[in-house]
């Protein structure tokens, strides 16, 4: 399996993340139903509707992201005010997939044809970014990207995917460094970083 193409790498990591989220929800479902049936058994008669009561809490950060999903993405969510001058326009949006899963994607355009492409799949229930992809382009040339596999939730992710330190664009000989992001930054940090290229 090749991982030379960053888009394919994103697909593979997102594919694995979706599978992991599904498995998590299936396990959660089994646990909740088993517990509720056990409790119901001791109480006698039960309505199936009673099983569907809330079962899992969420803290404020999850609620904030939920609020963004439902109210729309504001410029203040994208960058600090001192970085705003670098941004010409953006197509970043957040939308929900399922009840407690969100996807953030789009691109942010800067001067000098610099573009930051972003993708994140978020699990609000566990307050985790399950997979991300951040790529910086200048025109048709990809300058660098952040390796999404560093936070891949799947423990059995292949070592083979980790071996390539460079990648090649399919139609050219451009080789770009892959960057490592050990702690996923928020967009303001990424935007500030691109802004430094313009200074």
């Amino acid at each position: 399996m090749q991982d030379e193409d960053p888009l394919e790498t994103r697909d593979y990591t997102d594919w694995a993340a979706c599978y992991e989220i599904k498995r998590h929800r299936e396990e959660l479902y089994e646990t909740v139903v088993r517990d509720r049936l056990r409790k119901a058994k001791s109480q006698g008669d039960i309505s199936l509707a009673d099983l569907n009561s809330p079962c899992n809490g969420s803290d404020a950060s999850g609620c904030v992201i939920h609020a963004i999903v439902h109210r729309g993405l504001q410029p203040s969510h994208l960058c600090r005010s001192d970085s705003a001058a670098f941004v010409r326009r953006h197509t970043v949006r957040i939308y929900s997939r399922g009840a407690w899963i969100g996807v953030l994607e789009g691109q942010i355009e800067f001067d000098q044809r610099l573009v930051l492409r972003v993708f994140e799949r978020m699990d609000f229930a566990r307050q985790r970014i399950m997979v991300y992809s951040y790529e910086v382009w200048q025109g048709q040339q990809q300058l660098y990207w952040y390796d999404p596999r560093n936070i891949l939730p799947m423990p059995a992710w292949p070592v083979a995917f980790r071996t390539t330190s460079t990648f090649r664009l399919t139609s050219s000989t451009i080789v770009s460094p892959r960057r490592t992001l050990l702690h996923p930054s928020q967009l303001p940090v990424l935007i500030e970083e691109v802004g430094q290229l313009l200074r």
Partner: protein, 44 residues
């Protein structure tokens, strides 16, 4: 919304099923084949 219901858990499962179908169609592989393949790659 600050708590999860069984209905919401099921919604998440269905949503992830749709994503998995999308990737299966794109790459012509079932998800279990994909995960088996990646596990074998780990084992070498």
């Amino acid at each position: 919304m600050d708590q999860m219901t069984l209905t919401e858990i099921i919604q998440d499962i269905h949503a992830m099923d749709e994503e998995l179908w999308h990737y299966e169609a794109r790459y012509g592989l079932r998800t279990n084949t994909f995960t088996s393949f990646t596990r074998r790659a780990v084992a070498g």
